[in-house]
Symmetry: C2
Subunit: 359 residues, 2 copies
Amino acid sequence: MPILKETIKVDLGPRSYPIYIGKDFMEDADLLRPHIKGRQVVVVADENVAKLYLDSFCSNFRSEFELLEIILPAGEINKNLESFSLIIDNALGAGLNRNATFIALGGGIVGDVTGFAAACYQRGVRFLQVPTTLLAQVDSSVGGKTGINHALGKNMIGAFYQPEAVLADVATLDTLSKREFVAGLAEVIKYGLIIDRRFYQWLLDNIELLLARDFSALTWAIRRSCELKAQVVSQDEREIGLRAILNLGHTFGHAIENSFGYGYFLHGEAVAIGLVMSSALSSKRGWIEESQVEILCDLLDKIGLPSKLPEGVSPEDFMRVIALDKKSTDDGLRFILLRDIGEAVVASDVTPEEVLGLF
Amino acid sequence: MPILKETIKVDLGPRSYPIYIGKDFMEDADLLRPHIKGRQVVVVADENVAKLYLDSFCSNFRSEFELLEIILPAGEINKNLESFSLIIDNALGAGLNRNATFIALGGGIVGDVTGFAAACYQRGVRFLQVPTTLLAQVDSSVGGKTGINHALGKNMIGAFYQPEAVLADVATLDTLSKREFVAGLAEVIKYGLIIDRRFYQWLLDNIELLLARDFSALTWAIRRSCELKAQVVSQDEREIGLRAILNLGHTFGHAIENSFGYGYFLHGEAVAIGLVMSSALSSKRGWIEESQVEILCDLLDKIGLPSKLPEGVSPEDFMRVIALDKKSTDDGLRFILLRDIGEAVVASDVTPEEVLGLF
């Protein structure tokens, strides 16, 4: 029997939606059915997730709906215009109309590409997220950021487009590789650092349980992460101000992903290094203790996440990529820094020298 | 000296914006400047409009802004993913950030592609419309529909994305070819037919003045068209209901454009034929007099717009294209019909036989 543990509401007025968190949802369509409108449903998964879940997931819908299954090639390198076009071409080829519902089944990459395709298909159709990785469950499936990468930068083409519902089945995390699983923990840690000191302490205290994928500990970590993200997003859907704090470590992270080529580092791994770089910069400003940077590095080491840049990164190349990041403005580099543990701020006055000082 | 004749407000809450209508704006940046935010401006035009206006238009901005000029190949056949990518690639290549402003200078095609690129660039940047064709001034630049065509259908990929302002310079209409100019009149006539019987009568009475491109008559026709469109759009931005009436003639029109290949008919020409087909269907239902269909055909003949399908169109192929149109639903074909002159309705119960009866 499926276990529904939690329902969190993302409060966005007419675009509000629920996040369902629980276990063994995958073969139960009851939660999603009310969020589907027309008779046409398309389920998008990558080749890895398709092998594991596509058939059982789709079996819930086949009798009731006209079902189209689309399988994308896996990996960040395929979060691109070709995958976007693959979805659009197939949906048009199958004659899907404006009442169709797009469902993303998988990790953050499939969610981002499918969400962007849903945003653009006939100027917007219904969209549901069924995240199957920790990173997608705690971060990318919530908040409506969708998009694809460009050779010149990550997520450079996209839309703010909210799903109708998010269904996070914790049971799917059992099938993740260790590498994939721990990458998601980087985003969980981020929420503690930016906005909830007590949650950060809880993570430090309970990291062994999380690494053992204990159901209750995981459910709590996912729930708290989603709650914190929902709080921020509902105050600033389109990242005019506050929402930027969710990007702690991400300007560095994106530059790392871009410098090494998409796919070399997992997104969460690059973010982990970025969290340390942002913390180190905050510490150099005297905002947090140097010991806090060490505590963070120890935590990442224990988890098995990288905490520093590999040898051989050229600071100049790195700066060039950072300058193109969405988070740059006319006035200079904008970084998220830590005023304190649990208190992130937007700093628009970071100098190139401060960044170069981290090398 | 530029003459500002009218300012119309499109009322969409936080997304409201003005439409400025007047003459000889093209070398005056004062109206647009308050709508530009950052220091980076990109102006997109097609190769034809670029020759006429790009240099003089851009000369207003060069001293104050970091300016990028992008020239697209002309024609409906280029309203596609390649043109979209050309804009994105160039903008990223030039290092444009999220504060950049995209300006579409030209007809409906450039406006639609540029608007969609602005909607997607880094998940959305500011966007201004400077329409230089009658069709763009009365229709496509107003209301936030942006997008590109797909081999399987027109406007199948896109977004609802409102501009910050629309600047319609009636003087630019002087340089339009007769064919291009009269194509825009099809949309003007549409507004009369769907929602304003008196305006339709005014068009019948003043068609000679319009064809002579009389400034006052044109300004009034553009103003009234924009007002009527703004009224409808502000009640139903995302085409859940009422807005669909703006598609009178368009389901037929899109099928005509698609059947003959994009570029064979201008959009307005295909719409003209579509208006007659919709009127004929309405008349067969007994909703309007057959004489009204004749009056419309006479008006189109006088203007030099086509009023019937060319020989050799296969009704079966035509029906296939119609079935894929966005305006089709799970329940059947949805057409806009005329209950009366000046009163359009959405009819979801049109049978294939009724459509085939028009051949």
